[in-house]
């Protein structure tokens, strides 16, 4: 896995986002209309595609796309 592929997957799930909006240093909370629904979508995506569990605590401890990517990369078997 690599971060650009990871970003592509995230953008595909958030279908209100223009492709190319997400960058490694994008802060999730700066996105328009960021909501708890997006947190669920991220958890489901990462669980389904990488078999990695992301908790609510994980999400509150991070801000950017690359921080999320690092957690996933670390936990991928």
């Amino acid at each position: 896995m690599n971060i650009s592929e990871f970003i592509e997957k995230l953008e595909a799930e958030f279908d209100e986002l223009e492709p190319g909006t997400l960058k490694p240093d994008t802060n999730f909370r700066d996105l328009d209309e960021w909501s708890s629904m997006h947190a669920l979508i991220i958890i489901a995506l990462i669980d389904t595609d990488y078999d990695v569990t992301i908790t609510g605590d994980d999400l509150s401890s991070i801000e950017t796309v690359s921080e999320l990517y690092d957690i996933v990369a670390q936990r991928v078997a």
Partner: protein, 351 residues
Amino acid sequence: MAFFTVNKVAIKGIAAAVPSQIESNWDYDLLTDSEKKLLVKTTGVEERRRAPIGTTTSDLCFVAAQKLMSDLNWQPEEVSALVFVSQSSDYYLPATAIILQDRLGLSKSCLAFDIGLGCSGYVYGLSVLSSILSATGLKKALLMVGDVSTATCSYEDKSTYPLFGDAGTVTALEFSEAAKPMTFNLQSDGSGFEAIIIPHGGIRNRASRASFDKKEIDKGIVRADYNLALNGLEVFNFSIREVPQALKNFMEDTQSNTEDYDYFLMHQANKLMNETIRKKVKFEEAKVPYSMKKFGNTSSASIPLTLVTELREELQSKSLNLLMTGFGVGLSWGVSSIELDCIACPELIEL
């Protein structure tokens, strides 16, 4: 481990009733248009049924039971057990099942009691009542399952209000030497009891004036302590962790696989959660019916309601092997496999 098989009990029929009042999430004016779109896409819930004040879960179960008994040609005096599974009973006490015994004209020799479970309640209730019939040889029984959840959700809480709908169901069980076994695996994790909770009104936190004080928990989440509170992230993670694992263990223990089941019935929690579970256990989409689009999360009623609204024709004319799972409030979850052989299944009743 609560893994067991119940023999000699057949399901003869299933019926469901919902309130006629439809509420659409497209009309939920606490959300912007794009929030509504995201809500519907993520939860899968577009419409829900809402019971008017004064209509109870038992009222919905009652009309469903009257219709089903008439279709099955069951006489009231033949029914020897009635179990009501709900977290929205008529009164704090007595148990609602006992009121239903009288209302349905059942005999005084009928045993009746309540079970207080939600999302896992159908699987649990089926295991309890079928076990009673199997162990005692009692002939006919009614399992009445449902909830009026809209009564306890705060309108200003976007994390609960758009999700839940009301429904009441009845399942008719009969002792039968020829019946195929029903298999169950039931699980609990009380460490998560606060994940879905109505904090006030029980004895731990007695109802007081403070129970009705509205508080802003988060943006778009305003509720009081007598309202339902839902920790969406925690429930989501619990469900996608425990439920697929429980299903995999169940299929291993029963030496079955997804091919052996005609349909896989899940508690209708929300679309994203259910689809994540479906993908993890690798059931094909065509085998996994959903009723949440039109009825929302109907708590313990969700599995029998989905059977009635989505599979009615086939249930009446075919023999179907079903895998079922209920999961949620408690935390509590269960898996069951049953065979339904040309059962009575009247059309959905609107009250």
